[in-house]
Symmetry: C2
Subunit: 269 residues, 2 copies
């Protein structure tokens, strides 16, 4: 049995106490360099597989300093501070002697408390009733996800007008399906295609510069979610002077909020 391409993609080889080696994966190639969600998943995987790690991820910020070249790269993951119930991590990605990215993560021993959601899952038609885009995507990583756009899909007409909206709602799961875990939830936090393309219906050059994920679900909820669809929603916020951001949410199909995520993207226009 072959490993799922996602498992092959996030695999790390530990070389030292805090040093691991990862590798870009053709299955998750983007226009230039790899899918940022895969790089983020590799960063959190370095924390998850580090022998000193305590608890589960609660927060991750990944900064993309340069497009990774195809091939191997180093991941240096260090616990900066370990408290009774939380641990702070620093991660640096290096290639050819230069930093190509950095991350900070917080892991924690979570315990049951009073809880509520201020972000209830919106009404949505069941995934089976929402079509997937036709044909194979030109960008390989997109083929690794089953994306069913309910609202705010990829523009049909790239006419450079102002569509007046950068809001998307979709169902998503790995393709082929794979049981959800922290690494794949991290990657899925980056499946929302760039808000400026949606707002402008124009293919402008761009790249995510930083992305943050807050994890609202623990391991048991991820296991219960299994290989089911997640409902994702992304709303553009500020767009100007070469940078835009979005704020996004991901629920499982039982309506449990799994992650909230934000990113800032550079664009040229």
């Amino acid at each position: 049995m072959n490993a799922h391409p996602f498992d092959a993609g996030i695999a790390l080889e530990w070389k030292g106490a805090d040093l691991a080696q990862g590798r870009t994966s053709p299955a998750y190639a983007n226009f230039i360099g790899p899918f940022g969600g895969m790089t983020a998943a590799q960063a959190i995987n370095a924390v998850l597989t580090h022998p000193q790690r305590l608890g589960e991820p609660v927060a991750l910020t990944v900064n993309f300093a340069a497009a990774l070249a195809d091939g191997p790269f180093d991941v240096v993951a260090q616990p900066l501070r370990s408290n009774r119930s939380t641990q702070h991590w620093s991660v640096v990605l290096r290639q050819g002697g230069e930093a190509v990215g950095s991350a900070t993560a917080i892991t924690a021993a979570r315990r049951e408390t009073w809880g509520a959601t201020e972000a209830p899952m919106p009404q949505a038609p069941p995934p089976a009733g929402v079509p997937t885009p036709n044909g194979r995507a030109r960008v390989e990583w997109v083929n690794r996800y089953e994306l069913r756009f309910i609202e705010g899909g990829i523009p049909g007409q790239w006419d450079g007008g102002d569509t007046g909206s950068a809001f998307t709602r979709l169902w998503v799961r790995d393709n082929p399906p794979r049981p959800l875990d922290f690494a794949s939830l991290t990657a899925m936090s980056d499946v929302f295609f760039p808000r400026i393309w949606l707002r402008r219906a124009k293919f402008v050059p761009l790249g995510t510069v930083t992305m943050t994920v807050y994890f609202h679900a623990g391991e048991q909820v991820l296991r219960d979610t299994g290989a089911g669809y997640l409902l994702g929603q992304s709303q553009g916020q500020g767009i100007g002077a070469g940078y835009f951001d979005h704020s996004a949410l991901l629920w499982n199909d039982a309506g449990t909020l799994l992650a909230t995520t934000h990113q800032l993207v550079y664009y040229k226009e």
Copy 2:
């Protein structure tokens, strides 16, 4: 003429190429340790005053690993990578030989592009028509801000019920007023009091563990904003298993989006 307490609070003394010393400020004291917004402002100020800094801040993530003890602390700020138009920064805050916080920041040379807002400023009554809470706050940093709650103010009854909402809209400015800059905008990104207190009307122990700010305004817009009020809005998202997050926005009184900000907060309940 005395310096504004905010300027005194963020002041750093450079000790080496990447090493500065800051100091907690009684004027910005919180229940335990300093106001997190001040710590975040000190972190971005280390980047802003670093001789190698290029461009203006576009993103900042600050992780709070431990409450700072009253007194001095070290700030190590290093450029991780400098590209043509962006620069990636790593910042670590140390006290007594231990990391008490960390940050990553991105600065950039911004240029004019097509822009739009997907987050228009909501309708709000003018600041003069919105009362400030009566009396002096028990927590000193709160007295450093003029907070005019339009909606979702500090609960009048702390009865531990479920208020069903963790949404706040307010006008805010420094007290006394002070012209806005990147450091004060960073601090104001943390003025939203904890969402769990609002939702539960219950004073539970808590602390911000990580906070991200995306800067949508450049220096000219900050100068134009001057010492005017900002409109802030904060919405709780997930609340459970000891952590909650909120997503927030800040506009100037001309309706320009200045910053979007998110944070994850630990709570005990």
